[in-house]
């Protein structure tokens, strides 16, 4: 087994196991850390799928942004008692039934499909993918890019306004 394929299946195993552990974990803080492990493993998979820019964005955004925001959220929504926040489970049977039946349906339909491509042509065409991504962002996708910037600004201002505790105006 070559090194890239070993890394690919290693990252897949890490992502799958940390996601499955997220179901059973009862501490929210450990849940957030497991989610970050899963997302970083996904970033490794993106690198091996010729999507280096997406991988770097994933690491920057999730490890740098979402993790900090989620941990602040956990700290601000626990009573200060020193005890870890324990999550109860509810609707376990219906949740497991929904998820497992979805999974079986996905696997059934995926196993009936076949995606045949020429691997060497794919490797040749995707060898350097950061340069075309940058050019596409500034030419074909410049309008969605600017709209995404405005969306980020609006979300930032909206989150700050919602989270600021103005006691006079209760919802």
């Amino acid at each position: 087994m070559s090194i890239p394929s070993f890394m690919f299946y290693f990252f897949e195993a890490v992502a799958a196991l940390s996601a499955i552990a997220l179901i059973f974990i009862r501490n929210v803080f450990y849940g957030a850390l497991l989610l970050i492990i899963c997302l970083l493993a996904l970033a490794g998979i993106y690198v091996l799928a010729f999507a280096e820019f997406i991988a770097v964005t994933q690491i920057l955004v999730y490890a740098g942004g979402i993790l900090v925001v989620i941990i602040f959220g956990i700290m601000l929504t626990t009573k200060i008692s020193g005890k870890p926040l324990v999550v109860e489970h509810a609707y376990v049977f219906s949740g497991a039934l929904t998820g497992i039946s979805f999974f079986i349906l996905f696997i059934y339909f995926l196993s009936k499909e076949s995606f045949l491509v020429n691997p060497s042509a794919v490797v040749q065409a995707n060898f350097n993918s950061i340069n075309p991504v940058g050019i596409a962002l500034m030419s074909d996708f410049v309008l969605p890019f600017e709209v995404a910037g405005v969306l980020l600004l609006v979300a930032l201002v909206g989150a700050a306004v919602i989270a600021s505790s103005t006691k006079s105006k209760k919802i």
Binding site: F8, I54, V61, T77, T98, A136, L151, I162, A163
Partner: protein
Amino acid sequence: MFPVEHFLYLAALLFSVGLIVVIIKRNMIMVLLGIELMLNASNLNLVAFNQLHTGSNSGHMFALFVIIVAVCEAAVGLAIVIQVYQYYQTSVPDEVSELND
């Protein structure tokens, strides 16, 4: 290049796990984590299928914008969670049921 099916199986697993987490956890932050997991499963599918279309970057672009929207969703969602916690003193979604009474 790795088989596309293996990406898709992992994405199917991540989506199902995210759905289970959203349904069974009785904590708003855990529900948000489950939503993030489902969005990442869709991202993995986009990146995997972009490999099949040589010379096109549309899958990468979609994945990039999905990440941006996920960031906005997480920020606004956690702000709402904090405000609901300050008002109701709970972070269990089932206990926020004033409209039910």
